[in-house]
Structures are given as structure tokens and as C-alpha cells.
Symmetry: D2
Subunit: 469 residues, 4 copies
């Protein structure tokens, strides 16, 4: 058993639409940024499941013929990016199984913090595992014979899960949306043509003309079935909320609305706040597109320094599988953005990006600006320094490679060869998002993990298993 790989994901579901698969396809397309490695859709025609999954981007995995082989009024879909090597086809989601309950499919966004422990318990009771994704654990739990009725055993199974999980579960006749009690990852409910849709982000609703209805509440189990909706609470109400602030900072699309707050507007506000906290005299504000666009605009509006799109983002880089070339210095950085050198020659430039993780990319950008003749380069980052790993489904590099975890502000500035460097404060970020501080997860910034996770325990479990064999 390998440690559970971290992964980004997007989930989308449809209940009650004759073209459920097609809608799901569009939904996944709009959620493509949440996972580019594999995609899958499972439909139910009321009696039977139909599955299509594959490696690659959504339009590569699905064509018209594939969609036609997915009949049914219900569907769940998943798009996934795994950050470890284990990007096998067998790990593509949604996962589907047959069990005493009938057929079940699961699509999962997030990260279970007790995956290793649950798996050990299940295996020692005789369970077999065919993948390394935590959805399979969910399926095993769901398949356990419940004490009494079906809903009870569902609640019972969900209660055993810890960590971050926005889940879509499908049976032959029901679609179930579940969100963990802290509400780490988003999950929204919408309506279109009398059908229900569920999506990781609201931008998917826009594409299909669906109306946003409400967010799935933290800890809620929402069962969509023919008779109507049933909402259960699996967890005690008083759990601390912990919505991932990084969804606002970087991960979600700017055109999505997360728990009532538009992402772009939150980012513009981060940029304004950044300008207030860390002003500088300069001629131009330029974003690192596209994740820096909104904050740079905010910085420009607040500071009055003109906004200039000096970096041009290559349209084709999203999917290119270019080999990193030894031939070209900084190739990976250059291929994505090219600088319009005429714009910055002799200018004092403020560069705004959302975050600095390893620092190498940022260093290459500063260098490019200097080579093009920029007089001064001031780096402004629209969130605080990243000091800690995420264990709830966003992959950052090891602590050892997190720039800010290992170096002082001044060392980083020096490394970047920037004339100045400043980060948005934690308070500033929270204020810009506009939500109560204790309703957000801020763990990767301040180390306060809302749900505990003990990597040492995980390792120990896995070693114990090896020894047994």
C-alpha cells in the first residue's frame, strides 16, 4: 500500500434530466482547472449504470459517441489531477461497484485524513482494494451491512470519514451530495430545466444556464430522489467551519461564487488591501496572468498606478505536453508567458502574483523584466507566505521546498533579485475575503489545522502492514 496520493478534483452531478451525461460533460469542462489528468462520467438509467472514463482532458476523454453510450436521467462526473506518480487509469473516478445495496458510484473532491487507518481496519476484516484512491474506502464503508435502514447506514458510513470531502454518491435511483462538517471544499446546488445539478463551482452552472440554488451545507447529506429532496445532518452542528481560503486566492475560477462571495471580487479586494499595506512608487502595475490578474487590477485601482498587461499568456500552453528543454533557459516559465519588452524598458514595475511557492518561477519573471530593461521590479504577493503543507486536498511541495518555510523575507527578496518584496497579511486576506476568520481554513499559512492529521501514524500503519506480510 502506497501513501494516499494527493489530488485536485472537481465533481459534478445531475438528477432528473434526460441529457444527464451531456450536461455533466459541460459541467466537467467548466471544472477542468480542478483536474486535468483524467475524467469520468457514470450515468444511471434507473436500473443500470453506464460508465466512461479515460486519461486526459475532458474533450479528449469524451466524444459524441461516448456520450451517446451514457443514457439515463442521473449522472455524476469527476475530473482529477494526481500529484503523485500513481496516475493510473484504474484510479480514474468516479469509482463504481456492485454490492449488497446494488450498484454504487462515488466521486470525491478532498482528502480523507484517516484514510490509512480506515483502510487498515477494512483490510484486516477481509476487504480487498483495487485502487489507491480514497473513494474506494467510501465505497467499502457504504457497502457494510447497516444496523437498520439504508439512510442510517449511510449516515453511519459518512460519520467514519475524517478530513475534507465533497462527495457525490450515486445509486441506481438516488444521487447523494455530501460535504464534510468543516466544509473545506465547495459544493453548490443548482437547477436547470426542472433538473437538479450539483457542482464543485458555480462557474459550471453559468455554462449550462443553470440557476444557483444554494450551497450544500457543511456536514449535510442531501439525497436527491424521485420523491424529492431529503436533507440529513450527519454531524453535530457545532463543528468549526473551515472553508479553504486558498480556493479564493488561487484555485477556484474568478467567475465562480463560493459561499456567496465572487472569487474575482475577493481577489481585487486582496489587491487593494495589498496596495494599502505595501504601497510603492512605480510606473506600472503588471499581473502575472491569469492568477495575478484580479489582484493586480485591485492594486492598480487602489494605488492609481496604471495597469499594463505586459505578460502575454500563451493560448496553447494549457494542454501542451512540451518536454522541458535543456536547450532553452527557463523554458517552462517562458513558454507560458512572454513579456512585451517595449512596455517595461526603463520603467519601475510592480508585479503582482497570487502566491510564491517554490520561488523559481517568480525569480525567472523578475529576471526577464530586468533583462528587458525594467528599472525597478517590486514583487507583491496577494496572500501571506506559505509555511505549511495542506492535508485537505491541495498539493503543495514538501515543507523543505516551500520557499517561505525556510527563508526570511529578505532572503527571498535577495533570491528573487527584486527591488522590494511584500506579502499580504493574514488579516488583510481574511478581510478581503469578507468572512469570519474562524470560518476559514488558514492552515497552510498559520499551521492551525482544523482537523488533525498525523503523518507519522500513517507511516507507522503502513510499516506495520509491510511487516505482517
Amino acid at each position: 500500500m502506497q501513501p494516499y496520493p494527493k489530488h485536485y478534483c472537481g465533481v459534478f452531478g445531475v438528477f432528473g434530466h434526460p441529457k444527464a451525461a451531456e450536461l455533466t460533460y459541460y459541467g466537467l469542462f467548466a471544472l477542468q482547472h480542478r483536474g486535468q489528468e483524467s475524467a469520468g462520467i457514470v450515468t444511471s438509467d434507473g436500473r443500470q449504470f453506464h460508465v466512461h472514463k479515460g486519461m486526459g482532458l475532458v474533450p479528449q476523454v469524451f466524444d459524441a459517441a461516448a456520450l451517446q453510450r451514457l443514457p439515463g436521467h442521473m449522472a455524476i462526473g469527476h475530473t482529477r489531477y494526481s500529484t503523485t506518480g500513481s496516475s493510473h487509469f484504474r484510479n480514474a473516478q468516479p469509482l463504481t461497484v456492485d454490492c449488497a445495496r446494488g450498484q454504487i458510484a462515488v466521486a470525491h473532491n478532498g482528502n480523507l485524513t484517516n484514510a490509512a487507518r480506515l483502510r487498515e481496519q477494512l483490510e484486516s476484516a477481509g476487504s480487498i482494494f483495487q485502487t489507491t484512491v480514497d473513494s474506494e474506502i467510501v465505497l467499502h464503508l457504504l457497502a457494510q451491512p447497516g444496523p437498520n435502514g439504508s439512510a442510517n447506514s449511510l449516515v453511519h458510513a459518512i460519520r467514519r470519514l475524517e478530513g475534507a470531502f465533497s462527495l457525490l454518491i450515486m445509486t441506481e435511483t438516488e444521487l447523494i451530495a455530501v460535504r464534510d462538517p468543516h466544509g473545506f471544499r465547495p459544493l453548490a446546488l443548482g437547477r436547470v430545466d426542472g433538473a437538479w445539478v450539483v457542482s464543485s463551482e458555480t462557474c459550471a452552472f453559468d455554462l449550462i444556464h443553470a440557476e444557483f440554488e444554494r450551497d450544500i451545507a457543511p456536514g449535510e447529506i442531501l439525497i436527491l430522489r424521485d420523491g424529492g429532496l431529503i436533507s440529513l445532518q450527519a454531524f453535530p452542528e457545532h463543528q468549526r467551519r473551515a472553508f479553504c481560503v486558498f480556493e479564493y486566492v488561487y484555485f477556484a475560477r474568478p467567475d465562480s461564487v463560493l459561499e456567496g462571495r465572487n472569487v474575482h471580487l475577493a481577489r481585487v479586494e486582496m489587491g487593494r488591501q495589498l496596495a494599502r499595506e505595501h504601497p510603492v512608487e512605480a510606473d506600472l502595475v503588471i499581473p502575472v496572468p491569469d492568477s495575478g490578474n484580479s489582484a493586480a487590477l485591485g492594486y492598480s485601482l487602489e494605488s492609481g498606478i496604471p495597469f499594463e498587461m505586459a505578460f502575454v499568456r500563451n493560448h496553447y500552453v494549457g494542454r501542451s505536453f512540451l518536454q522541458p528543454s535543456q536547450l532553452i533557459r527557463d523554458f517552462n516559465v517562458r513558454v507560458k508567458l512572454n513579456l512585451i519588452r517595449d512596455l517595461v524598458r526603463g520603467k519601475r514595475v510592480v508585479v503582482v502574483d497570487d502566491s510564491i511557492v517554490r520561488g523559481t518561477t517568480c525569480k525567472a519573471r523578475v529576471n526577464t523584466l530586468k533583462e528587458a530593461g525594467a528599472r525597478e521590479v517590486h514583487v507583491r504577493v496577494s496572500c501571506p507566505p506559505h509555511m505549511h503543507p495542506c492535508v485537505y486536498g491541495i498539493d503543495f511541495p514538501d515543507r523543505s521546498k516551500l520557499m517561505a518555510a525556510n527563508h526570511s523575507l529578505d532572503e527571498i527578496r535577495e533570491y528573487l533579485k527584486a527591488d522590494s518584496l511584500a506579502y499580504l497579511s493574514l488579516e488583510g486576506m481574511v478581510k478581503a475575503v469578507g468572512r469570519a476568520r474562524d470560518s476559514l481554513c488558514l492552515a497552510c499559512y498559520n499551521g492551525e489545522y482544523p482537523v488533525s492529521y498525523d503523518p507519522a501514524l500513517d507511516k507507522q500503519i503502513m510499516e506495520r502492514r509491510r511487516a505482517h506480510r
Copy 2:
């Protein structure tokens, strides 16, 4: 849950060879006739499994690069043909899982007659199923926590299986070969370069210069591990033997030796016996190639009527995906064999084939011969009429489509428009094989099933499950 699909299969394993994957690849290539739909190999490097599977013929699934990604001294391989629609990639074997024991892989040839019952028991105890192949049942049983030691729980698991099974099981460090107590399907042990090899048929040994050692005995569990071989008997010794006679008649390759008897020689003897039982005055004996070749030769030798290869078998038809054409009458039959018309014009011809199942193909052949000017056409079949379905891993059509189950000899002859028609007797066939009658399965001919199988029960189980949901 769908009824378990019937399937043909070939299995091959290697223990203790540095090029285990490559040897397995050749082995599977030699067993290709036992399954053309998917192929797979799993190796173990002592710590970890490496898997490659795919749809298609062995050389389509594996190339040099794929083999290089399969390191290790142990390997098991599988080649499969499913006769139902469920020819999905997920059903490709060997199946591999992770469980409390560590990693396990299974490759299976045969058909479990108690699959539905076992699955129901497992599911009601909480097991989930991701495929519709019976190997997954074997894996679940193996993963159950055993009462005491590992070997005991292995025996315990195997004992729960009923029906026909020649199994290869691999753990990180052991290769286990199992044959059901009746010995329905073949499984042979060989040696090459100090390594052990296990194969469905001995023809695979010839290709890799391996020496045949012995057959795995019915009911034997043979564990190949670093210390040496361990042979266990899982079942009481007195079980009736029931080797599938149809392996000799048609299914196995003529160059294989099954339980000491060469297939070609058995077929030649069937042909001789057929000539003795059903002589006829004629000018030529012609086989329906290739399955009729040996028996036709025997018929010719015994009768003295000259042998002629009047049907030419197209070299490329093995795997062509030609659309059955409406344009060309009898296309599917013609594309495989073409008649040399100059040979049969004005002649009295004896046509020898191994079996008549539906009758349509045979009718088309007779017709072709008549159209080419044959004066008389005498059909001789080198086994008795097929009256019953097989439930041990060979797929015949439904009873309702079995020609001989629904028509008298004379009706069949009439339908074929043949001048005469005769089948080898059951006694003649058994004699030609040269083994005791009660050591063979003859169920598809005489309806005496060595292991009972109740399709009604299976259906009932499945309906009960539906109702539960």
C-alpha cells in the same frame, strides 16, 4: 449483478527467471487460441507488483516498452475471450488487489459453478465488486482473515470454490498453481533455465524451449517459493476425475500434450474410428481446416480414400475485424476458407470437421462444394452430437440453438443438404482419446454433469438481490 459471463482462457506463469515477463509474453502468445479478447501480465519484483493489461491480441497489448516496464522474477499472465457483451477493460485479467495479506494477483481458466452464491454471501457480509469475473470472488476469499496460518487459509479459501478452475495465484513472493478436484481444465508444470513455468497447454513450453515436468494434479495446490515447491491437497482424494474431452476434440492445439496424450494423435484416432464406424465410398477426404485436419487425415488413412486440402484457410482471418457484409452471401464462412473448385468437380467428397454446433457454417460448406460441382457430399463429424450446454468454461450457444439438441440426425442431414451425415459415437471418441471414460467430462454430449449447477438457483439469487435494493 449480471450473470457471470462464460469465457475461454489461457493462463501462464513463471517463477524464478530474470526475464519472467518476456517468457510469459511468449507463453501467452502460444496460448492465444484460448482467448483473443484481452491479455495481461503481472510481475512481482519481490516487493511490488507491476501490471500491464489491455484489450486485443497479445502482440497488440504488449510491445517491447511495455515488457520493460514489467521487471521481476515472477509473473502470471492471462489471455481471455468473453462470450457475453461484457468485454470491458476492467474485466481483463489477471486481477490484482491489495489486502491484509499484501498484494495478490489471480488468473483463472474455467468456470465456478457456485459463483453467484459465493458472491451473494460475500456481498451480504459487506464486500464490494468491481468486475464481473469470478477471479474477483477468489480474491475476496483469499483476503478473508484465516483461522490460523497462511497455508491453511489458502486451502480453506480454495475449498469453497466449486466447478472448473485452473488458477494461478501470485503474492509478492509466491506463485501458487491450483487445479480443481475434477481436473476439468489442463494445467502443466515445466522447467526452463532453472526456472519453473506453468501453462494451460504444453505447446507454450515448446516455444520457449521449456521441458515438460508433470501435470498439476486435480485438487492440487502447488506453491512455488524460494525455498522450493510445496504440494498440498485441498480436497479429499476420491473425487471423480472429469477432464474436458472437448479439449481433445477441438479446443486445445494439436501440438499440445494433455495429461500424457497428444491432441493431434487423439484426433487422428478419432478420424480412424469415424472411418470404421461410418465408412462411405468416395473419391476424396477433405478436412475443414484447421480443426478438421487431423481427423480427416485419420479418416483418409483408415479408409484409403485420398486426402485433399481443398479448402484453403485464409492466413489473415484470425483477427480481422471485417464487418459481416450484406453484400456477399455467406461472407463470414467464405472469408475464412476458400474452395479450390477444380479439385472437387465431379467428385464424391467426404468432408470431415470436428463438430457441428449451430449447423449454419456446415450448411454453407456443403453448399459451396455442391456449387463447385461435387457429385456427392458426405459429412463426417469427429465427435458425437452436442446436446447440452457446458457450464465449465466452454461456451456453446443456448440449448435452443444447438442443432443436435433439437433435430434428428435425418433432419440435420436434410438441412445441410448433404448426401450422408454421421457422427463419431461416444464410445468411439472415448476410445480414441485413450483414457478411462469416468476420468473424462462428457456432459455436453451425454448430460451427465460431474459437478451440479443449478441455473434456476443462480437466477433466483440474482432476482432476490434485485428485490432487496
Copy 3:
């Protein structure tokens, strides 16, 4: 013979670099926007050509293995988009042939206005044609036995071409760059690591760290060979210049510098000029990304109305093969850009785009804005109305489908349901580009074609040929 299809193209060449193919690959990647349908590279190792071509985007056509099979110090590459149905593999460029001169390869950007006539002449003298691209005509002309020396016959061949052509020609030992006497399409010379590079646009130089040297002059034939550079003038010097103004308006990348003028800056200036010519009271200026970005920024800077990126461009749409869905209204438009509705609700909005061709897309955008609650929508277009087709290598729809060719300004505004509509003037556009009016082609705006082209003649030639047969 079908009419010559119109096509967009990008060309790139390398002379004197050990990794010529790899550099060309990067160059083509940077020119991908000039053609997304097929890509190809031909290298010469001094004795022999090596070719790789394919349908699709550059990274789809080439992988590391393909590049390794392209040795040599010289290379030419081509990326192509054909606007007619004839997007066959056989038409993929560069084209290579064997002739009395040896091997020749040609890559062409532009459109020959006398293609049909030249082809007729060649065919009636016995030439055969295997493609429908005009490069093949160039090859035939180059292969004609010249009166005397090689350079002379080259000049002689080039002189027979009329229309727009930026050509790269490669022999076993020479790379030849040619630009038509009017200089319709760009072609620039650069240096990297002591090697020469030639590219349709300078943005390709940036990616590979090459230094821009100079533009190939209109009418120039530049021969790169081991001894050094030879520059010939094939045409009388006094020909009118006619650089395509639409390269500045839309087609070229904003980070390219065309004949000394950066595209983005030209577009910003167009936006400023547009604001001067057509001011309006409003709350926001929003671009239609990405082609409207620069002009919108200019409009905002000049007018003082805040810039807002209310439309979010989907990162994955560049090459998706989504089926236009009947299910979703305006799908093709929505899938590319999504509106952040919170931004425009209740606002007076100026929308800036580069051009309106058919009008349907613009209408859908206005509609989206209105549906989201925009109070007023003012459409501003950063070039004059398109009234005429282009015959020099940019594909516009038929005159009958060109919105501005068939409707008054007011009718268009009405159709778009916009509150106001205004186009940049011809003078304003020329001024913004900053070049003399008579050095530009403006034909699609004002109908003054620098090189005459008679479609009736072409049709007549083709009909004559049909009749002959």
C-alpha cells in the same frame, strides 16, 4: 481541381544550429495561433531530408521521439489552418520533392493570386499535382530547368508568383527566405547561438532567446548558405508596399513586433483613438478577451473609465473539440468566455472588441451582459467595418455574410441590441499603427486591392479545365 483553399499559416526556419528541429519546434509552438490544423518540420543533414508532419497542434504532432528522427543543422517548419474542407494530411506543409536540382522543401504563408493560372500553364505542359496547396506550384516553378545558373532560375521562378507570399525554401544545403514585393505578410530574421532563424513573427524569437536582426525586405530573396548570406532583389524596387493592417488589429500576437511596431502598443493606441473618436459616459470598460484586451486598456486609459476583466476566458477552449450543443443556447460563445455577473449588474458598460465580422458572437455577448443586469451596453470596435473579402491569406466569410457589407451602422446596432455602436475610423487605425497609409494593405476595409485578383477568371479557368476533360 478545386479552388485554392484559403489558409492561415506560420513559418519558421533555422540555419546552422545542431538542434535545428528542436528550435523549429519551439518556433512553431510560438506561432501556433497562425494555424492549428497541421504542423510539419523538414530538416536537412546536408545530404538528405528528414520529414515529420501531422494533423493537429504542434505538441500533438511532435514528441521527443519524432524530433530525434529529424537530425540536421537546417530546418523549416510550417503550421497551418485551412478554412475550407480540404484539410487533408496530404496538404500538410512543408511540401518536399525530388527534382533535377535535388531535394527541395517549401513552406508558404500567404495566398498566390495567380495560382489557378500558373497551375493551368503547368498542367498543360504536363505537370501533375498531388495537393491543393499553392506551395506545390512554387516547387514546380523551382524545378523548371533554368536558363543558366541556379540563382537566376530561382529569381525567375519567384518572379512568376503574384499575391502574398512569405516563403521558406530549403535545398540540401541552403535555406532561402522570400517575401513578396508588397510585403503583405511579415517575415523576420534573427540570430541565436551563431545560427540564423527566420520567423513569421518575432514572438517566436523571444521563446528561444534569439535576437531580432531585421525584417526580410519586401521583394527580397535571402539565401542562407555556408559561405554566408546572399540578398537578391527579385522585383523592381518601386512596388507599392502593402503590409496587412489586420495583422496589427487582430491576427498577430500582441507580444510580436511587426516592422518595428509592437502589436500590443498599436492596439492600445487604437483603443485610445477609439475613445477620442467615440467617447461615451459609462462605469466600466470591459474587453472581449483576448483580442480586445489591448484596445480596451487604451480606451480605459484615454477615457478614465475603469477597466474591468468581466469576461473570463476559459483556459482549455483553445483546441477543444466540443460538439456545438443544441442543448445549450449560445454554447459556442459561452464556452469560450464566461461573464462575472456580479461586476456588471446595474452598470453602464463599454465593451471593446477588435472587429465584428458576422455579428452573431457580438450579439450573444451583448445579450449576456443585458441578462446579467447591465444598465447600458456600448459596443466599441477597434477597427473600421469589414466590407470586402481578403485575397491575401486571411479568411473572412463571403461578402454576403460580412455584417458591415450588408447593413448600415444603425441596423447593426439594432441587431446587436446595443445601446450604442461605433467603429474606429480608417484614418484613426492607420494613425494608431503609426505607418504611412500607402505602406499598408487596407483592402478589406476600403476595397483598394494592391494586387488585382479576378475570381471570375479563376472560376473560368477551372471551368475550362473541367470541359477539357
Copy 4:
């Protein structure tokens, strides 16, 4: 320019059938043995050509969708195997071009002995070449402006060709079948459903229920057009006939009838004659399947020694792309045929094969027989020793690698480790074929080339061209 590669080919054409492409597909499938590397079909719908070509076997290149994109009542198809490295897609046939005559397609079986000279002449007059197949030369010649009418210039063009050529030429409205004046390669005319079909071999007629009509005569140009058939003679009648005897010996299918003589029967007669010329005392006659089957049967019938199919031909080897393994000795030989060892143990065996070219394969077979315990092995070859290369379209290895060209009979026997070795005499072979000696080409046996070919001249031409460049 590279030397023209040698290649095997099959051609098939249809005139006047609504499903011309589908019939051609079946025809090519039946001719697959004449070329397994690429396949192509061109149809004409009376106005326009439709082309589909690809690398691989016929069923790999064409699926139902591809056939549906090939409408029209006329079609020509080609299947090809190139023996040199130049197996590029661009060389796949039929070749199609546009020229003054309209569209022309050509499919060619054979080898032009004056290809290099013709190409030099054409190139020096300005022709360009895009492939290295000689069909392109034919197209250039056909496209030359004729002196007067169309038929005349066709005859004029054909007359310039030398060597072996069975050609199918298609224009928008005509199908033209041409055979060289010596008639090296077969070409037959048939009828089905009122349509005309033309095929390299008659076995293709059988598959589609077509009736054989007659052979195309040597030197005949047969024009199939709407008005009816026109037969021209391009060459003086008195040319010596030279039908390739090797088509009977090995190349053609046994179920084909070539110029009135069934191939299988000719081979049986070769085997009988071989038994008469070289009798031996033995227990068994075994063929090397499948090319040795017929002759072995003949040998058995004549000698009275029983026929035994001791070598089993693997059904899947036709298309397998197995890597020759270092691991397994004689892998390439073993993978094709496996020996039933029980049959030959202690026996005196006569092995019959059609020919010995390099000798390595034969040596491996003898060795296998000896290892299996055969007491004596007598090799009998059903044609004379191959001493000379073929320049008419059959690829043998260089003279230096032709076993018989470099070694005495006794040396060969010694090398094979056979107990005896004998070849059929030239006279015996001719007699078995049953045709006049001077109507056959026997050049690879006796060195008497019916059409002269000077490889030195070819080389000289190519070197001259290199020098020119």
C-alpha cells in the same frame, strides 16, 4: 533519389458497381498475401475522386466509416509490401494526381526496369517527384500532353515503360487495366452483378462471388468505360511471354487460377515430379506449412509414403509484430511452426518445402526434427535452386546471401545437417506447371532475363544526379 525499392503488390479494381469501395475492400483482403504493409482504395463518383490509404493490413486500414466515405461506381485498390526501409505513408498506393487530363489514379504491381532512366528524363524536363514508387513515373508519363487524342497518348505513355507491370489506371470516368507485353505478373478480369472486376489473382473473385471472365492479355490495354470495353494492343504482338514461374511455386495463393492453371494443382504436380526425380525410403512425408503443403501431398501420393502434418502453423503469426527475442534460440522460426514431437520420434522423415533462399530457416527446421528424435531427415525442395536475383517485382536477398548461388548442393546439405537434399529440376518444374518453357520467366533459376536490366546503369544515373546538384 534512392534506388527504387522492390515491393510485392496486389491490385484490384471495380467498374460499374454501386458498392465499388466495399467490393474492392474484399478483393484486397483476398490479396493480402501480396502485400501487408499498406493498403489503399480510390473511388470515383464520376466527377471526383475519394481516397483512403493507410499503413497496415487491409482491415486495419479500413473500417466501415472509411468505406462509407468512398462513394462511387468505380474503384481501384492496392496492397503493398516494400522490402526496403522506405515504407513511408507517402508511398502508399494508389497514387492520385491532378493534371491537364483531370484526375488520375494508378495502382501498380511489378517493377519497371527503366525507372531510373525515365525519372532522370522527366526530372531534367522539370518534373518533381514526391514519392519513391514507380507509379509516380507512370502518372508523369500519362500527364504529358499527347500528340493527338487521349487513347493515343495513353498508348504512347505505356510504350515507354519497360519491365514488369500489371497496372490499374483510373480517371474520373474510366478504369484502364494494363499488362506488360511479357505478362510477368497476373491480371484477371471478372464479372459480378453486371459490374466488371479486375484482380491480381482469381481467389479474390471467389470471395465476392464474381465469375472469372478471362485474363488480361500480355501487352493489352483494356479500357472499361460506360459505352463498353475497348481493348488496345500497345506493343508488337511477337514479344516473348514471360509469366513468373515463382507465382506458381510460392507467391500466389493455392486457390488461385493463373492463366488457366490452378496453383495448388501445379504444386501437387511439382511434388509428384519431385518424388519421381528424387525418391527416398522413409516413414513420413511432412510439409513445411503452408507453402509446402501441396507439394508434400504430391510427394506422398506419388511415393506412397504417408502424409503427416507434423508442423503446426500458429494462427496468429500472420500479423504478429513480435520482437525477435535474444532469449529464445530460433525464435522467429519456432513462433511460426511448432513440431508435434510425438509424431517423428524414431522416424525417417521427408520434409517438403517450396524453396530454400537463405537456408537459415530450413536449417532450424531440420534441427528441430533431429532434436525431437527423427532418425533421418530428407529435405526435398519443389523448385530448382535460386541462383539469381529477381528484377521484376519479387524480392530475394542479394546474390551474396542466396544460399544456392554460393554453395554446392553438398555444402548446403552439410550446412542443413540433413541426411539428404534434393531440388526439383527446371524441366520438372516447367512440366509440372504445364506451360511452354518459353512462355515463362525462369530468370531467378537460370539467369536468362527476358527484359534486360542494368543495375550499373541505374547506379550511374543516380550518381550523375548527385554530382549535378
